[in-house]
Symmetry: C2
Protein backbone atom coordinates (compact mmCIF):
# COMPACT_ATOMS: atom_id res chain seq x y z
CA UNK A 1 0.00 0.00 0.00
CA UNK A 2 1.18 3.45 -0.76
CA UNK A 3 2.73 5.60 1.83
CA UNK A 4 1.59 8.97 2.99
CA UNK A 5 4.10 11.62 2.27
CA UNK A 6 4.62 14.65 0.08
CA UNK A 7 7.10 15.25 -2.68
CA UNK A 8 10.64 15.90 -1.50
CA UNK A 9 11.75 19.50 -1.45
CA UNK A 10 14.95 20.52 -3.13
CA UNK A 11 17.48 19.50 -0.53
CA UNK A 12 15.99 16.14 0.19
CA UNK A 13 15.65 15.76 -3.55
CA UNK A 14 19.40 16.13 -3.89
CA UNK A 15 20.07 13.57 -1.23
CA UNK A 16 17.63 11.13 -2.78
CA UNK A 17 19.46 11.52 -6.06
CA UNK A 18 22.75 10.93 -4.34
CA UNK A 19 21.46 7.88 -2.54
CA UNK A 20 20.32 6.45 -5.86
CA UNK A 21 23.63 7.22 -7.54
CA UNK A 22 22.00 9.81 -9.76
CA UNK A 23 23.62 13.11 -10.61
CA UNK A 24 22.08 16.38 -9.56
CA UNK A 25 22.11 17.95 -12.98
CA UNK A 26 20.70 21.41 -13.60
CA UNK A 27 18.05 19.77 -15.75
CA UNK A 28 16.87 17.50 -12.98
CA UNK A 29 16.85 20.37 -10.52
CA UNK A 30 14.87 22.49 -12.92
CA UNK A 31 12.37 19.73 -13.59
CA UNK A 32 11.88 19.13 -9.91
CA UNK A 33 11.48 22.82 -9.21
CA UNK A 34 8.86 22.97 -11.92
CA UNK A 35 7.05 19.99 -10.47
CA UNK A 36 7.10 21.51 -7.01
CA UNK A 37 5.69 24.72 -8.46
CA UNK A 38 3.08 23.04 -10.64
CA UNK A 39 2.09 20.16 -8.39
CA UNK A 40 1.32 18.04 -11.38
CA UNK A 41 1.95 18.52 -15.04
CA UNK A 42 2.58 16.88 -18.36
CA UNK A 43 6.10 16.73 -19.74
CA UNK A 44 5.21 19.52 -22.08
CA UNK A 45 3.96 21.77 -19.31
CA UNK A 46 7.11 21.14 -17.32
CA UNK A 47 9.18 22.01 -20.34
CA UNK A 48 7.25 25.22 -20.92
CA UNK A 49 7.59 26.15 -17.29
CA UNK A 50 11.35 25.73 -17.38
CA UNK A 51 11.63 27.76 -20.54
CA UNK A 52 9.49 30.52 -19.10
CA UNK A 53 11.29 30.64 -15.79
CA UNK A 54 14.59 30.12 -17.56
CA UNK A 55 15.87 27.88 -14.81
CA UNK A 56 17.98 25.69 -17.08
CA UNK A 57 18.83 24.76 -20.61
CA UNK A 58 16.91 21.65 -21.38
CA UNK A 59 15.25 19.81 -24.22
CA UNK A 60 11.83 18.23 -24.33
CA UNK A 61 13.32 14.78 -24.70
CA UNK A 62 15.28 15.25 -21.50
CA UNK A 63 12.20 16.40 -19.66
CA UNK A 64 10.46 13.23 -20.76
CA UNK A 65 13.39 11.12 -19.69
CA UNK A 66 13.80 12.86 -16.39
CA UNK A 67 10.12 12.64 -15.46
CA UNK A 68 10.05 9.04 -16.46
CA UNK A 69 13.19 8.20 -14.51
CA UNK A 70 12.12 10.03 -11.40
CA UNK A 71 8.71 8.45 -11.36
CA UNK A 72 10.37 5.06 -11.71
CA UNK A 73 12.07 5.63 -8.38
CA UNK A 74 8.89 6.82 -6.78
CA UNK A 75 9.45 10.54 -6.65
CA UNK A 76 6.56 11.30 -8.94
CA UNK A 77 3.50 9.43 -9.87
CA UNK A 78 2.50 8.70 -13.41
CA UNK A 79 -1.08 9.50 -14.28
CA UNK A 80 -2.51 8.70 -17.69
CA UNK A 81 -5.41 11.01 -18.42
CA UNK A 82 -8.43 10.34 -20.57
CA UNK A 83 -7.03 12.32 -23.47
CA UNK A 84 -4.39 9.67 -23.56
CA UNK A 85 -1.48 11.73 -22.41
CA UNK A 86 0.68 11.33 -19.35
CA UNK A 87 0.74 13.60 -16.38
CA UNK A 88 3.08 13.38 -13.46
CA UNK A 89 2.14 14.19 -9.95
CA UNK A 90 4.62 15.45 -7.39
CA UNK A 91 2.38 14.59 -4.50
CA UNK A 92 2.43 10.92 -3.83
CA UNK A 93 -0.20 10.76 -1.17
CA UNK A 94 -3.41 9.01 -2.07
CA UNK A 95 -5.62 11.71 -3.35
CA UNK A 96 -8.16 12.38 -6.03
CA UNK A 97 -7.75 13.69 -9.50
CA UNK A 98 -10.29 15.64 -11.40
CA UNK A 99 -9.89 15.69 -15.11
CA UNK A 100 -11.68 18.46 -16.95
CA UNK A 101 -12.56 17.01 -20.33
CA UNK A 102 -13.04 20.27 -22.11
CA UNK A 103 -9.94 21.96 -20.86
CA UNK A 104 -7.74 18.89 -20.70
CA UNK A 105 -6.71 19.96 -17.25
CA UNK A 106 -5.86 17.74 -14.37
CA UNK A 107 -6.54 19.07 -10.92
CA UNK A 108 -6.19 17.71 -7.47
CA UNK A 109 -9.16 17.28 -5.30
CA UNK A 110 -8.18 17.15 -1.71
CA UNK A 111 -10.54 14.94 0.13
CA UNK A 112 -8.86 13.44 3.12
CA UNK A 113 -11.95 11.62 4.19
CA UNK A 114 -12.45 9.75 1.00
CA UNK A 115 -8.76 9.08 0.48
CA UNK A 116 -8.32 7.72 3.96
CA UNK A 117 -11.43 5.66 3.56
CA UNK A 118 -10.27 4.18 0.27
CA UNK A 119 -6.81 3.45 1.60
CA UNK A 120 -8.22 1.71 4.63
CA UNK A 121 -10.72 -0.18 2.59
CA UNK A 122 -8.26 -1.62 0.10
CA UNK A 123 -5.87 -2.55 2.80
CA UNK A 124 -8.40 -5.17 3.78
CA UNK A 125 -9.97 -5.77 0.40
CA UNK A 126 -7.12 -6.08 -2.03
CA UNK A 127 -8.04 -8.09 -5.09
CA UNK A 128 -7.31 -11.76 -4.70
CA UNK A 129 -3.74 -12.60 -5.56
CA UNK A 130 -2.69 -9.00 -5.86
CA UNK A 131 -1.00 -6.39 -3.82
CA UNK A 132 -2.14 -2.85 -4.31
CA UNK A 133 0.61 -0.38 -5.17
CA UNK A 134 -1.50 2.62 -5.92
CA UNK A 135 -5.04 3.73 -5.59
CA UNK A 136 -5.98 6.13 -8.30
CA UNK A 137 -9.31 7.79 -7.95
CA UNK A 138 -10.03 9.72 -11.04
CA UNK A 139 -13.10 11.82 -11.58
CA UNK A 140 -13.84 12.73 -15.14
CA UNK A 141 -15.84 15.90 -15.02
CA UNK A 142 -17.26 18.74 -16.95
CA UNK A 143 -18.02 22.18 -15.69
CA UNK A 144 -21.49 22.35 -14.26
CA UNK A 145 -23.97 24.85 -15.60
CA UNK A 146 -25.66 27.21 -13.25
CA UNK A 147 -29.02 25.84 -14.28
CA UNK A 148 -30.49 22.54 -13.32
CA UNK A 149 -28.61 19.89 -11.59
CA UNK A 150 -28.96 16.20 -12.10
Amino acid sequence: MRRTRTAPDMESFRSILKSKGLKATPQRIAVHAAMLALGHASADLVYEHIKKEDTAEVTVASVYNILSGLSAIGIYRRIPTSDNRVWYDAITRTHLHVFDRKRSELKDLVDEDFSAMAAAYFKDHAPKGYKVDEIDIHLVCHRSRNTKKQ
Copy 2:
Protein backbone atom coordinates in the same frame (compact mmCIF):
# COMPACT_ATOMS: atom_id res chain seq x y z
CA MET B 1 -16.96 -13.02 -16.33
CA ARG B 2 -19.87 -11.85 -14.31
CA ARG B 3 -21.86 -8.77 -14.88
CA THR B 4 -24.51 -7.55 -12.56
CA ARG B 5 -25.76 -4.96 -14.91
CA THR B 6 -24.18 -5.47 -18.25
CA ALA B 7 -23.66 -3.50 -21.36
CA PRO B 8 -26.59 -3.72 -23.69
CA ASP B 9 -26.95 -7.11 -25.31
CA MET B 10 -27.27 -7.44 -29.02
CA GLU B 11 -30.93 -6.64 -29.46
CA SER B 12 -30.96 -3.66 -27.20
CA PHE B 13 -27.73 -2.65 -28.86
CA ARG B 14 -29.51 -2.54 -32.19
CA SER B 15 -32.29 -0.45 -30.81
CA ILE B 16 -29.88 1.95 -29.19
CA LEU B 17 -28.15 2.36 -32.52
CA LYS B 18 -31.48 2.96 -34.20
CA SER B 19 -32.50 5.49 -31.59
CA LYS B 20 -29.28 7.36 -32.19
CA GLY B 21 -29.68 7.24 -35.93
CA LEU B 22 -26.71 4.93 -36.28
CA LYS B 23 -26.61 2.01 -38.64
CA ALA B 24 -26.28 -1.54 -37.44
CA THR B 25 -23.34 -2.43 -39.61
CA PRO B 26 -21.71 -5.85 -39.43
CA GLN B 27 -18.61 -4.12 -38.12
CA ARG B 28 -20.45 -2.51 -35.24
CA ILE B 29 -22.20 -5.75 -34.42
CA ALA B 30 -18.91 -7.62 -34.45
CA VAL B 31 -17.23 -5.02 -32.26
CA HIS B 32 -20.04 -5.15 -29.78
CA ALA B 33 -20.07 -8.93 -29.75
CA ALA B 34 -16.36 -8.85 -29.05
CA MET B 35 -16.83 -6.37 -26.25
CA LEU B 36 -19.56 -8.48 -24.72
CA ALA B 37 -17.27 -11.47 -24.89
CA LEU B 38 -14.20 -9.71 -23.60
CA GLY B 39 -15.75 -7.39 -21.05
CA HIS B 40 -13.07 -4.84 -21.66
CA ALA B 41 -10.35 -4.60 -24.22
CA SER B 42 -8.11 -2.36 -26.21
CA ALA B 43 -8.92 -1.63 -29.83
CA ASP B 44 -6.25 -4.04 -30.85
CA LEU B 45 -7.65 -6.86 -28.73
CA VAL B 46 -11.09 -6.28 -30.17
CA TYR B 47 -9.66 -6.40 -33.64
CA GLU B 48 -7.82 -9.64 -32.94
CA HIS B 49 -10.92 -11.15 -31.44
CA ILE B 50 -12.97 -10.33 -34.51
CA LYS B 51 -10.33 -11.76 -36.79
CA LYS B 52 -10.08 -14.91 -34.76
CA GLU B 53 -13.81 -15.43 -34.51
CA ASP B 54 -14.23 -14.28 -38.07
CA THR B 55 -17.41 -12.44 -37.25
CA ALA B 56 -16.93 -9.69 -39.79
CA GLU B 57 -14.57 -8.07 -42.23
CA VAL B 58 -13.17 -5.07 -40.50
CA THR B 59 -10.07 -2.93 -40.34
CA VAL B 60 -8.21 -1.71 -37.28
CA ALA B 61 -9.05 1.87 -38.10
CA SER B 62 -12.73 1.06 -38.08
CA VAL B 63 -12.43 -0.70 -34.76
CA TYR B 64 -10.84 2.41 -33.33
CA ASN B 65 -13.55 4.59 -34.80
CA ILE B 66 -16.35 2.33 -33.68
CA LEU B 67 -15.09 2.02 -30.13
CA SER B 68 -14.55 5.72 -29.96
CA GLY B 69 -17.98 6.49 -31.35
CA LEU B 70 -19.80 4.05 -29.13
CA SER B 71 -18.06 5.26 -26.03
CA ALA B 72 -19.01 8.80 -26.98
CA ILE B 73 -22.67 7.82 -26.70
CA GLY B 74 -22.11 6.06 -23.42
CA ILE B 75 -22.19 2.43 -24.48
CA TYR B 76 -18.61 1.85 -23.50
CA ARG B 77 -16.31 3.56 -21.15
CA ARG B 78 -12.90 4.80 -22.10
CA ILE B 79 -10.12 3.79 -19.72
CA PRO B 80 -6.57 5.03 -20.21
CA THR B 81 -4.16 2.62 -18.57
CA SER B 82 -0.79 3.35 -17.09
CA ASP B 83 1.03 2.03 -20.13
CA ASN B 84 -0.58 4.89 -21.94
CA ARG B 85 -2.95 2.95 -24.10
CA VAL B 86 -6.70 3.04 -24.19
CA TRP B 87 -9.01 0.32 -23.07
CA TYR B 88 -12.74 0.26 -23.42
CA ASP B 89 -15.10 -1.21 -20.93
CA ALA B 90 -18.47 -2.63 -21.83
CA ILE B 91 -19.73 -2.27 -18.32
CA THR B 92 -20.90 1.21 -17.64
CA ARG B 93 -21.57 0.93 -13.98
CA THR B 94 -19.14 2.52 -11.57
CA HIS B 95 -16.75 -0.22 -10.74
CA LEU B 96 -13.10 -0.81 -10.07
CA HIS B 97 -10.25 -1.60 -12.35
CA VAL B 98 -7.18 -3.51 -11.50
CA PHE B 99 -4.24 -2.94 -13.73
CA ASP B 100 -1.52 -5.54 -13.59
CA ARG B 101 1.69 -3.69 -14.32
CA LYS B 102 3.71 -6.66 -15.36
CA ARG B 103 1.18 -8.17 -17.69
CA SER B 104 -0.38 -4.97 -18.94
CA GLU B 105 -3.72 -6.47 -18.22
CA LEU B 106 -6.80 -4.69 -17.11
CA LYS B 107 -9.27 -6.58 -15.01
CA ASP B 108 -12.48 -5.74 -13.30
CA LEU B 109 -12.80 -5.89 -9.62
CA VAL B 110 -16.37 -6.25 -8.60
CA ASP B 111 -16.97 -4.53 -5.36
CA GLU B 112 -20.52 -3.38 -5.09
CA ASP B 113 -20.01 -1.93 -1.67
CA PHE B 114 -17.17 0.30 -2.57
CA SER B 115 -18.62 1.31 -5.92
CA ALA B 116 -21.93 2.21 -4.44
CA MET B 117 -20.22 4.06 -1.66
CA ALA B 118 -18.08 6.05 -4.07
CA ALA B 119 -21.00 6.85 -6.32
CA ALA B 120 -23.07 8.04 -3.41
CA TYR B 121 -20.21 10.00 -1.97
CA PHE B 122 -19.41 11.95 -5.10
CA LYS B 123 -23.01 12.69 -5.76
CA ASP B 124 -22.88 14.90 -2.72
CA HIS B 125 -19.23 15.83 -2.87
CA ALA B 126 -18.61 16.72 -6.48
CA PRO B 127 -15.75 19.15 -6.88
CA LYS B 128 -16.91 22.73 -6.83
CA GLY B 129 -18.15 23.89 -10.18
CA TYR B 130 -18.00 20.46 -11.71
CA LYS B 131 -20.31 17.68 -12.50
CA VAL B 132 -18.92 14.20 -12.27
CA ASP B 133 -19.33 12.13 -15.42
CA GLU B 134 -17.30 9.15 -14.40
CA ILE B 135 -15.71 7.77 -11.32
CA ASP B 136 -12.70 5.76 -12.20
CA ILE B 137 -11.19 3.81 -9.38
CA HIS B 138 -8.03 2.28 -10.59
CA LEU B 139 -5.87 -0.01 -8.55
CA VAL B 140 -2.36 -0.45 -9.83
CA CYS B 141 -1.23 -3.80 -8.58
CA HIS B 142 1.36 -6.48 -8.78
CA ARG B 143 0.82 -10.16 -8.16
CA SER B 144 1.47 -11.35 -4.70
CA ARG B 145 3.79 -14.33 -4.55
CA ASN B 146 1.52 -17.14 -3.51
CA THR B 147 -0.51 -16.93 -6.69
CA LYS B 148 0.27 -18.62 -9.92
CA LYS B 149 -2.56 -18.62 -12.35
CA GLN B 150 -4.98 -15.92 -13.23
